[in-house]
Structure formats: structure tokens, C-alpha cells
């Protein structure tokens, strides 16, 4: 944490790191993760599951996210729910650009993550070709439990501050490491962030 020195460039990340600011940082990231408002960007079938997640049974209000803000200026997370067509791609980028920092993107469903089953001329093969994505949620459509898992993963990342250092002008996504697991190794357990 606190890897850069330019406060204008990186907000809290720019403050020289010491015991007091670390606690402040923790407080800020804790607050951000507990009350991140999604921008409504439901496109297709995944939007229905996203609405189901907002319903009473799965209830993302527990995580502080039931207010889907219509205006992207007021939103923190953009959940791209559904397939992004060629005509929709500029609109998606415009909405993303209108969101204020800090902002995160969850790519919900396989169509948003990679084009899904629609490997053809009409669908953008992965919304990360247009906006930087932080968490990918697979499924067609992902059940509300999967979406909540994705949201919680994102919240953990927000709280850990891994994403505090904002993306530079190249618009690169969150750093993703790919480590090759040799064949025959034990299956890796899934854990949410480091603690």
C-alpha cells in the first residue's frame, strides 16, 4: 500500500504511508466496500438474474448494494450483465467514462466475460476489450449466488486496497497473474483475498 508518492495521481495512495494514514486508509476502503452502488447496466438474461439478486430472496441489500443508480455519475460498480453487441459497445464505454473514480467493473456472465456462446460477428468477445474488468463471474446466467460471490470477491479486493492504485492512462485492468500449475498438483482452494 502507498506505493506512489503523487497524491494528485492516486488519492490516498499518494499519502506517505505511516501508522496513522494506514488506519485511515483501512477505514476508507472498509467504507467503500460496504456501500458500493451499482450502475444499472443490465442488457439481457443476466440482467434478470441481477434483478433477482436484488430481490428479497437473495438480497444484495445486505451488502449495501440494492440502490441501482440510474445515473452513472452516482455509481461505483458497473455490473455489465449480458451480451454486449457492436452497437452497444460505444454506449458502454460512454457510461463507463461518466462514472467517477473510484470505479470497478464486474463482468457478469460468460457473454460479458468472453462473448459466451455467441462467437460471431455481432457480439463483442469479452467486455474487457472495452472497459477494464475487475471480477469475472461465469455462468449462463450466473445464479444469484455466483453473482454474490463475485460481488464479495470484489468487496474483498476493495477492502484490501489492491485496487486503490487506479489505472493509469493506458487503461490496463487489474493486474492478473497467471501461474502455471503443473499437472498432478493438488487442486487449489478458492479464497477471497488475503487476510
Amino acid at each position: 500500500m502507498g506505493l506512489v508518492t503523487d497524491i494528485r495521481g492516486d488519492g490516498f495512495g499518494g499519502i506517505p504511508h505511516n501508522a496513522i494514514t494506514a488506519k485511515l486508509e483501512d477505514l476508507v476502503t472498509w467504507a467503500r466496500s460496504r456501500s458500493s452502488w451499482p450502475a444499472s447496466f443490465g442488457l439481457a438474461c443476466c440482467a434478470i438474474e441481477m434483478m433477482a439478486t436484488g430481490g428479497a430472496h437473495y438480497d444484495i441489500s445486505r451488502f449495501g448494494m440494492e440502490v441501482f443508480r440510474a445515473s452513472p455519475r452516482q455509481a461505483d460498480i458497473m455490473i455489465v450483465a449480458g451480451r454486449v453487441s457492436q452497437k452497444m459497445a460505444p454506449v458502454l464505454r460512454q457510461v463507463y467514462d461518466q462514472m467517477m473514480e473510484p470505479k470497478w467493473v464486474i463482468s457478469m456472465g460468460v457473454c460479458a466475460s468472453s462473448g459466451g456462446m455467441f462467437n460471431n460477428y455481432a457480439i463483442v468477445q469479452g467486455v474487457d476489450q472495452i472497459v477494464p474488468v475487475d471480477v469475472y463471474a461465469p455462468g449462463c446466467p450466473p445464479t444469484p449466488e455466483t453473482l454474490i460471490h463475485a460481488i464479495e470477491t470484489l468487496h474483498q479486493k476493495i477492502e484490501d486496497g489492491e485496487l486503490l492504485k487506479r489505472r493509469t492512462a493506458t487503461g490496463a485492468g487489474a493486474g492478473i497473474h497467471v501461474t502455471e500449475i503443473p499437472a498432478g498438483a493438488q487442486p487449489m482452494p478458492v479464497f477471497l483475498g488475503s487476510r
Binding site: I48, A56, G82, Q94, A172
Partner: protein, 445 residues
């Protein structure tokens, strides 16, 4: 990344947009209105364009969508307003175009269900049903589907109608401001989806109804689950009646809004609740019965005024009729096969694959190469919650459809929007769209 950003233009789609009224010739304007009622231009002129306020003769063109909390998906509307009155409206679609018809040409008939089911994602089983019925018609096996499979299809189709209409109630309520209706509607829908998950394995986009029957048999204990649903939902519908139907605010917001006449609806090709709200009792389940709908009793709900309130009431009561149908299906459900025992069309049971080489080969061929369908073309239509959904398949004798086209009800119903919004207030635009209940997945395919 910068390349993509640089090449994104204004995205204005100027040609697809709405030109201001002042730029159109009179003939074009009258054609917009008059042809719907099949009038001559002179008679359409007498209909009167809305009176122009001399001090305010400038009209405004505003753009609603495609990303907007109140449009059902990515529908973009261009409205020409004079003050608060909507003069003309043009829906611009294509923001969810997925190339499904092109993709369908490269998927086998067994895989086609996965493609088609994602068109109208609120009633996926109906999409699969119409596709399967068209395939079976081409194969010539439409009369050989086992009884249990037919009744299962009916059961799932009616439950899907219920879940789709419940979602309509939820989104309609929310669009009009009754936000708690959203929570209630989803609560009921969860119960139906839970049943679907038990039967088909998925909550949505099931790919369960396949050519030849259905994919698997009903699980043990399904009858209790269905009875639980049928007991739980009617009292909740009474709650909705109290919350909405009798309530003066709800009535004021919906009555008289988005009126369409019967001639307009028929001329525009509107079907489903939109057509029935004008007073025409046309329901494919009764008028061109498919499956075994001629063996169950149900009423076709019809409106009188063709307004948004009628469409809401029709859908609410269609849930009740669906419950009635499901009760009868429970009585009628026979035993037997859940898919046709034709080795060339349906895969063999999994246990047989260990025993018989032939079964293994059939399984392999059906799932990789697909079964071949004789040459021909056919159009089959059923009644989906939104109207008449039809599937036109032209086959050339190979394992994939040569041309697969789905006639989506919402695609045609959206053409009614300009006529419904004419003369109304811009605040009612949301109510009108919501009452037509479009699903953009099937509009754009």
C-alpha cells in the same frame, strides 16, 4: 484500448434516428399515421395533427435510452415533443443484436435450443417449444411425441407464462413507482424458478424442451412442488389486486394511457395481450390449438379499451387462468416416455450406452454430427406470454437448419409504441412501454 476509444464515434445513428416533423413532407407524415388505419390521406389529414400552439411551434427531439432504468432492456426511443406532449416516437433497436439467426445456421437441431432459448429470456421454454415443434414438423414426427412429453411441455409452458407475467407485474409496478411490487413479484417468481431448477437443472435458459420430447423426466415429488405453487400464488394475486387494481392512483396512471384500437393492432401485427386488450379474443392456444390445449378448459381474457390498464389486468388474470390449466394438467399427466423412442432423433438412455455399441454410436452421432432433417420449410407458431412467437425453419436435408428465423412478438409489438404514445405525455411513455412488455432479446435476436 486507445484504438477502440478513438474509433468510437458519436454513435448518433443519424439515419436511424427521428427526423423532426418540420423536415418531413405531409405525405410522409400522413403515411405514418394513416396507413395504420388504412385510410386515405385525406381522411388521415382530418384526424388532425395535434394542434400547434402558435407561440410554441418548435418541437423538441429527445432521446431516451438505450441505457435507462425504465426501458425494458436496451431500447432507445426518440421522442418528438411539443412541451410535454409526445407528437411522434421512433423506437431504435439493435442494441442487443446477437446474430442468433446466423448462429442457428451453424448449430445442429439439438443445439438449436440453446440458441433460441436466449431470445425471449423471460419465457425461454416457449422459445424452445416453438423451435422443437418446427423441427418435429419437418421431421414428420409431430404426432408421435409421447403423451407424457406433451403434457410436460404444457406444464412447463404454463408455469413459464406465470413466471413471465409475474415479472411483468414486478417491472410494471416498479416503472410506475410501486417499488414494493418489484419485491413481491420477484418473490413469487423465485418459487417458480425453484421448481424449474428442480426439473430442468437451471433457473433460466433451460434448453429442456428438445425435438422429440423433453430432456429428462419429472423428478420425484414434483406433484407436491406444483401443488405448493398453486396454493401459494392465488392469495398473493389477491394481494396484488388490493395493492394495485383497485387503487385510484394506479387506475389514474394506467386507464386511458397507451390506447390502441383493434384495427390498428391487427394492421400492425400485434398479438398477445396487446391485441386482446383491444377486445379481439385471439389466443393461439384456443384458436389454433397446439399440444393438448384443446383438452383443457380455460378462458381467454379480453380487454375493452385497449389501454395500459387492460393489458395489466389481462396479464394478471392470465396468471389465474394458467393456474387453472396447471390444475388440469396435474389431473391429466400420464405415465410413459418423456421423449420419442426414435433412435435417430433422441439419444438413448445413458445406461444403455454401456451395454450396446449401437446405442453408443447413436449417442455419439446425435451429439456431434446431429440428426438430419429432411428438406422443406415450415412455420409454426405458439402463444408466448408476449404474443405469437413463430419459428420458420428452412431445411436442406443436413443436420443444421439452412435458415432459422424466429418471429418475435415483441419485435412486432414495438411498432405499436408510436401509435400508443401519440398525444400522450412524456411521463406516460414509461407506462406505455411497460404495458407492451417487450423483451429486447427477442426484438433484436
Amino acid at each position: 484500448m486507445t484504438d477502440i476509444v478513438a474509433t468510437i464515434r458519436d454513435g448518433n445513428e443519424a439515419e436511424q434516428g427521428l427526423k423532426p416533423r418540420s423536415e418531413l413532407t405531409t405525405r410522409e407524415l400522413l403515411r405514418e399515421v394513416g396507413s395504420v388505419l388504412r385510410m386515405s390521406e385525406a381522411e388521415a389529414a382530418k384526424l388532425g395533427d395535434l394542434p400547434a400552439d402558435p407561440s410554441e411551434d418548435q418541437t423538441m427531439i429527445i432521446n431516451m435510452g438505450p441505457q435507462h432504468p425504465s426501458t425494458h432492456g436496451v431500447l432507445r426511443l426518440m421522442l418528438e415533443l411539443q412541451g410535454e406532449t409526445v407528437l411522434r416516437c421512433k423506437p431504435i433497436i439493435g442494441y442487443l443484436h446477437t446474430g442468433m439467426e446466423k448462429q442457428g445456421e451453424n448449430l445442429t437441431f439439438m443445439q438449436g435450443g440453446t440458441n433460441v432459448t436466449r431470445m425471449d429470456y423471460l419465457s425461454p421454454l416457449n422459445n424452445e417449444l416453438v423451435f422443437s415443434m418446427a423441427t418435429e414438423r419437418l421431421l414428420g414426427i409431430e404426432n408421435d411425441i409421447p403423451e407424457r412429453a406433451v403434457w410436460m411441455r404444457m406444464l412447463l409452458s404454463e408455469l413459464n407464462r406465470m413466471s413471465s407475467h409475474l415479472l411483468f407485474m414486478a417491472t410494471n409496478g416498479m416503472d410506475l413507482g410501486a417499488v414494493s411490487m418489484m419485491i413481491y413479484g420477484w418473490r413469487e417468481r423465485e418459487e417458480v424458478l425453484r421448481f424449474f431448477q428442480k426439473v430442468t437443472g437451471l433457473r433460466m435458459n433451460h434448453n429442456f424442451i428438445r425435438p422429440g420430447g423433453v430432456a429428462a423426466d419429472l423428478p420425484v415429488g414434483w406433484r407436491d412442488d406444483v401443488l405448493h405453487l398453486l396454493e401459494m400464488i392465488p392469495p398473493r394475486l389477491e394481494e396484488y389486486d388490493i395493492l394495485m387494481t383497485g387503487q385510484p392512483i394506479w387506475r389514474d396512471r394506467l386507464q386511458g394511457v397507451g390506447v390502441i384500437t383493434q384495427d390498428e393492432a391487427v394492421a400492425l401485427g400485434a398479438t398477445g395481450p396487446v391485441l386482446r386488450s383491444t377486445g379481439l379474443a385471439w389466443d393461439l392456444r384456443r384458436d389454433q390449438p397446439y399440444l393438448h390445449y384443446d383438452q383443457v378448459e380455460f378462458d381467454v381474457i379480453v380487454g375493452t379499451y385497449g389501454d395500459a390498464f387492460d393489458r395489466y389486468a389481462i396479464r394478471l388474470n392470465e396468471i389465474r387462468e394458467s393456474i387453472r390449466i396447471v390444475h388440469q394438467i396435474l389431473d391429466h399427466m400420464p405415465g410413459g416416455d418423456y421423449r420419442i423412442q426414435n433412435k435417430k432423433v433422441t439419444p438413448p438412455p445413458r445406461a444403455r450406452i454401456d451395454e450396446s455399441m449401437e446405442a453408443l454410436i447413436h449417442h455419439f452421432k446425435i451429439f456431434t454430427e446431429g440428426f438430419k432433417v429432411p428438406e422443406g420449410e415450415v412455420y409454426v407458431a405458439i402463444e408466448s406470454p408476449r404474443g405469437e412467437i413463430g419459428c420458420y425453419i428452412a431445411s436442406d436435408g443436413s443436420a443444421t437448419p439452412y435458415r432459422m428465423h424466429v418471429r418475435a412478438p415483441s419485435f412486432v409489438n414495438i411498432q405499436c409504441l408510436p401509435h400508443m404514445m401519440r398525444g400522450g405525455l412524456v411521463a406516460d411513455a414509461v407506462a406505455v412501454i411497460s404495458s407492451v412488455d417487450p423483451v429486447l432479446g427477442e426484438v433484436d435476436r
